[in-house]
Structure formats: structure tokens, C-alpha cells
């Protein structure tokens, strides 16, 4: 399935979408750009941090609510579209449900385990408790209400056609986001045979029964890094931070990198992907799944 088809089918207007769940790596920018091109509206974004993908979706007017621990540009600081939305309702008003990293994870575990909320000792004494209606205090514990995304979009290093996805490196809140979501859209650097994924069932991230689509989308995560495939494109992040300071700058950036780009293949031709490609391989030592 193409990314355009996957977004068309599985991210309707009004969806609650988990994105960027591995934190800084493996952020599915290509999915976000397709959402923007398809002019989705009234989305709720769910994630821990987002390293400018949330900012782009907000700036493009796709987003009604953000449920997140941090929205910014990890190496550059503030998120300018996010600021404009919160401070000036430009391009539209935005509801923010603040979390910490730990509490957004617990909100997803609550949904994964199908309980109304989970308790934690974090957030006690924080004003986050005052502004997010999904958090409440009982005795010396905070109750974190379940957050159930309609769909989690997760980029991984490799997957097979049937949705068995292998990801490695830090996983952030990938697992709970996928389990909590109604369904999962997988995007992958490499589409591999099932003999590869099933050779290591411990590395399979999700039950295939939750996976609605597999999109073979190399370079999906640019400018975020992909262990074994791509380094992070720091300069690209800096350029985005600079240009998104003004509405005009952001609009020009969006035209150049999203609206006037038909798909990821075309996008990658405009990036020096070779310079970012990881060339020295460090294969893991295999595990023996023999049984007889």
C-alpha cells in the first residue's frame, strides 16, 4: 500500500493519531506530510516529543488537539507554529493536554490494558495537574486517564507484507502506543520476506492482528535518524526552525518540502540522502531459535 492510500484509508478527519512514538528516531515525517497534503482536519495528535513533525501538522492547520509531553524542535528549541497556534490561534485555536514523558506512556498503557486510568507518583506538585483534565490526584497519587489513539503510525527498519515489524534502537513509547491504538500503520525502510521477521519473533514489535497497513517508504523518517540506515539531518532541522519563525517563512517551507512534493521518492531526490546514509554496518550477533 502507498503512504497516500494508507493515510486516505486510516487517518480520516477527526482521528486521534499517535506519531513519533520512538521519540527522536524513526519519526514518520512522510506520513505527516501526506496528512498535510490530504488536508486532514481536526486531528488529535498523541506523542511524547515530536521534533517538529507536530509543529508542521499544527502549522498546516490539521490539528485540533495535542496530547503530548513536549512539542518543539529537539536540537533547536521552540516550535514556532505551535507557539502561534497557542498564543494567537494561528492558523487556528489548539487545545493542549500537557503530559510528562512518563505520564503519556502510562496513559497509553492504561488504554492497552483497558483500564480507565493508571496511578503514578510523577506529576505531584506540577501545575500540569491543573491544566490537563485527563489527570487527577487521589491521595498521594496521580491518576492518568487512558488515551486511546485511533491509529498509531510507526516507522521501523524492516517489516514484511503481513505487518510483522522489526524496530531497534530506543523504543520510547512505541509498544504501548501500538497496543493502545485501534490499529497500526507500519512504514518501513525495507520490505522483507517473512523469513527475516519470523527468524526473530522477539523483535517483532506488534501483534499483526493490530496492523492495518504496511507501507514501504524508505527515508520516511528524514530528517530524524534511523539506526543502521540514516543519521539525523541536524542542518535540516535548523533550517526548518529558522524558516518557520514567521507564517510566511513556514508557508514557503511547507510548499517547498510538502505541498509541491508529490511523494517521498521525489522528496528524497531533494535531500543529500547519501551524506546522511549510515555506511558502516554493525550487525547484532544472532540468537539461535533452534528447537530440535
Amino acid at each position: 500500500m502507498s503512504m497516500a492510500q494508507a493515510i486516505e484509508r486510516f487517518v480520516p478527519d477527526g482521528s486521534t493519531v499517535a506519531l513519533g512514538v520512538a521519540l527522536e528516531p524513526l519519526i514518520p515525517f512522510a506520513a505527516g506530510h501526506e496528512i498535510i497534503r490530504q488536508q486532514r482536519r481536526n486531528l488529535e495528535l498523541v506523542g511524547p516529543i515530536s521534533d517538529s513533525l507536530f509543529d508542521q501538522l499544527i502549522g498546516a492547520g490539521c490539528v485540533r488537539r495535542v496530547t503530548a509531553a513536549w512539542v518543539g524542535n529537539v536540537s533547536e528549541g521552540l516550535a514556532h507554529c505551535y507557539r502561534r497556534a497557542c498564543e494567537q490561534e494561528v492558523p487556528r485555536a489548539l487545545e493542549v493536554r500537557d503530559h510528562s514523558n512518563f505520564s503519556i506512556s502510562l496513559a497509553l498503557w492504561a488504554a492497552a490494558w483497558n483500564v480507565p486510568s493508571l496511578p503514578t507518583r510523577t506529576l505531584l506538585g506540577s501545575d500540569i495537574l491543573r491544566t490537563n483534565p485527563d489527570l487527577s490526584t487521589v491521595d498521594d497519587l496521580v491518576e492518568v486517564k487512558a488515551v486511546r489513539p485511533d491509529v498509531a503510525i510507526v516507522h521501523v527498519q524492516r517489516a514484511d507484507e503481513l505487518g510483522r515489524a522489526h524496530a531497534w534502537g530506543p523504543l520510547g513509547i512505541s509498544e504501548e502506543a501500538g497496543l493502545a491504538a485501534g490499529r497500526i500503520v507500519i512504514s518501513c525502510e525495507e520490505l522483507v520476506d517473512a523469513s527475516v521477521t519470523l527468524s526473530d519473533p522477539n523483535r517483532i514489535l506488534f501483534p499483526e492482528t493490530k496492523v492495518a497497513a504496511v507501507v514501504h517508504e524508505p527515508g520516511c523518517a528524514h530528517p530524524s535518524p534511523v539506526q543502521g540506515f540514516f543519521k539525523r539531518d541536524h542542518a535540516f532541522h535548523r533550517d526548518y526552525a529558522d524558516r518557520s519563525r514567521t507564517v510566511e517563512g513556514f508557508d514557503a517551507w511547507l510548499r517547498e518540502w510538502v505541498l509541491d512534493v508529490p511523494d517521498r521518492g521525489e522528496y528524497l531526490k531533494r535531500v543529500d540522502a547519501e551524506a546522511l546514509r549510515i555506511k558502516q554496518h554493525r550487525p547484532s550477533v544472532p540468537s539461535d531459535f533452534g528447537y530440535e
Partner: protein
């Protein structure tokens, strides 16, 4: 002072000295990553770094990091796991020291990284907590690094993202159920503020070379208490500087 250094380099050196050997350090982004690398290279070879993205390391990464999730930080990691597992260790009191960045801090060490002004219509929307609130509440002790300006060191933060000592009353943290010990230092571009044993109001403990107490007081948004024993912050040693420049060769974090 053996050679020139930037304010950021001094801050990194000072931060690294907060790391004790054997500490499990919850490493934030930017300067703390460098502080961890410097400490490991000098007085704290047994320290472990824990990253909220879901990594534990001993050796600092052997290439530049723009974020804690960059590929060099994964290669050689001692554990690549879920964020909630890293948070579990911190909730158990297994994290000795955390670093938190902040846009605003007040006299009681409360940090704001969320909203300047009314959260319903903020003057400035900041990125939010990330793991900051978790570290502030759960780590055994923590440190923040900040540019020393009156608009950053304020009488009262407009929003407490990451609580320090709350309203500063004795036992505030314990009374409110906060597990960790709270902030132990605010390392700024001008000096180092510390807190009395058991928490409370920050005081000026040392002033960076080239700066004066009066200047620091003037740049602070509340009437800053000054220690009777206020000293000059020790400049970065040659080996500290060498380590900083090894891990930030292009000065991405320390020279911009």
C-alpha cells in the same frame, strides 16, 4: 584560568562536578550530555547514564549527538528499552542525579517549561515538560542549567512544570508526596545557586570568573540571598576543556 573558555563550557564543567562516581544519571539533552561525558572521562568512571528515550550507557557516545536518540548513542548502549522502563528505575529511587533544562526558575527551584502567562492564552508557549517533571519529582537530586537573566530567574514562575521546593515552606515536597529530594543547584551563565539542606530558598554559592556578586544579584528577578562563604567558581581545568571539546568538536552546544 589556563585558557579561554565560553560560559557554556564553564557550565558544563561545573555540571560535571555534580556527578559522583557510581551515580546513575538521568541525562537530559544539550549541555548535560556533555557534562556526563566529561564526568565519565574524569572523576566518575563508574557513572551510568540513563536517557529517557530508553537507553543506558557507560561510555559517552563516540560521535556527536544532536539528540539523545541519535544512532551514536545507541551503538554500545548497555540497554535499549522502553521509556517507561527508564522511568521505572527513577520512580524506584534508582536515579541519583537528574538534569533538567528550564526557561524560568524561581527562588524555590520551581521550573517552568510550559507557559509564560495565562495557560489559556499564553504570552509564550514553551515546549512543555518532556521528562522534566518526572526528573524533578522522582530523581534523588537534580540540577538545572540556565542563562542568568532577570526574565529567567523570576520571583515566581507563572507555571510550575517541574517542581522544586514549591512554596518553599519546610517539608513541602514530602507533604505533597514528591519522592525525590529536589534541586541541589542552579548552574547559570553567571554563577552557581544552591539550596539549604532539606530544601527551601536558593542562595548564591559561587560566582563565575569575571563576574561579581552585585552583577549576579542584579540579574536575578528576586532579592537573591548570598552565602557568607560565596566563592569564585573554579574554572574548567585543561582536562575538562579537552573533554568538552572532544565531545562537542564543532562547538554546536558550547560555542553558539
Amino acid at each position: 584560568m589556563s585558557e579561554e573558555f565560553t560560559p557554556q563550557e564553564l557550565m558544563v564543567a561545573v555540571a560535571s562536578r555534580e556527578i559522583r562516581d557510581g551515580d546513575v544519571v538521568f541525562v537530559g539533552m544539550r549541555l548535560p550530555i556533555l557534562a556526563y561525558a566529561v564526568a565519565r572521562n574524569s572523576h566518575a568512571p563508574q557513572a551510568r547514564g540513563l536517557f529517557e528515550v530508553g537507553l543506558m550507557r557507560d561510555q559517552p557516545a563516540s560521535a556527536f549527538l544532536g539528540t539523545m536518540g541519535d544512532p551514536p548513542n545507541v551503538a554500545g548502549a548497555l540497554w535499549a528499552t522502553r521509556m517507561s522502563n527508564a522511568m521505572a528505575l527513577m520512580a524506584q529511587g534508582e536515579v541519583d542525579l537528574g538534569f533538567i533544562g528550564g526557561a524560568e526558575v524561581d527562588r524555590f527551584g520551581n521550573l517552568n517549561t510550559s507557559y509564560v502567562g495565562d495557560p489559556r492564552r499564553p504570552k509564550v508557549k514553551l515546549p512543555g515538560s518532556g521528562g522534566g517533571a518526572d526528573i524533578a519529582i522522582l530523581s534523588r537530586r537534580w540540577v538545572t542549567l540556565m542563562s542568568h537573566e532577570p526574565r529567567r530567574l523570576v520571583e515566581k514562575v507563572s507555571f510550575v512544570t517541574s517542581p522544586g521546593y514549591g512554596d518553599g515552606s519546610p517539608g513541602w515536597r514530602k507533604r505533597n508526596g514528591l519522592l525525590g529530594g529536589g534541586p541541589v543547584a542552579i548552574i547559570t551563565t553567571l554563577g552557581v545557586l544552591r539550596f539549604p539542606e532539606g530544601g527551601g530558598e536558593a542562595y548564591l554559592a559561587s560566582v563565575h570568573p569575571g563576574h561579581a556578586v552585585d552583577e549576579v544579584v542584579a540579574q536575578t528577578g528576586w532579592p537573591l540571598q548570598v552565602s557568607d562563604r560565596v566563592s569564585e567558581t573554579s574554572a574548567p581545568t585543561d582536562s575538562e576543556l579537552a573533554a568538552i571539546r572532544l565531545f562537542d568538536p564543532e562547538g554546536f552546544w558550547t560555542r553558539s
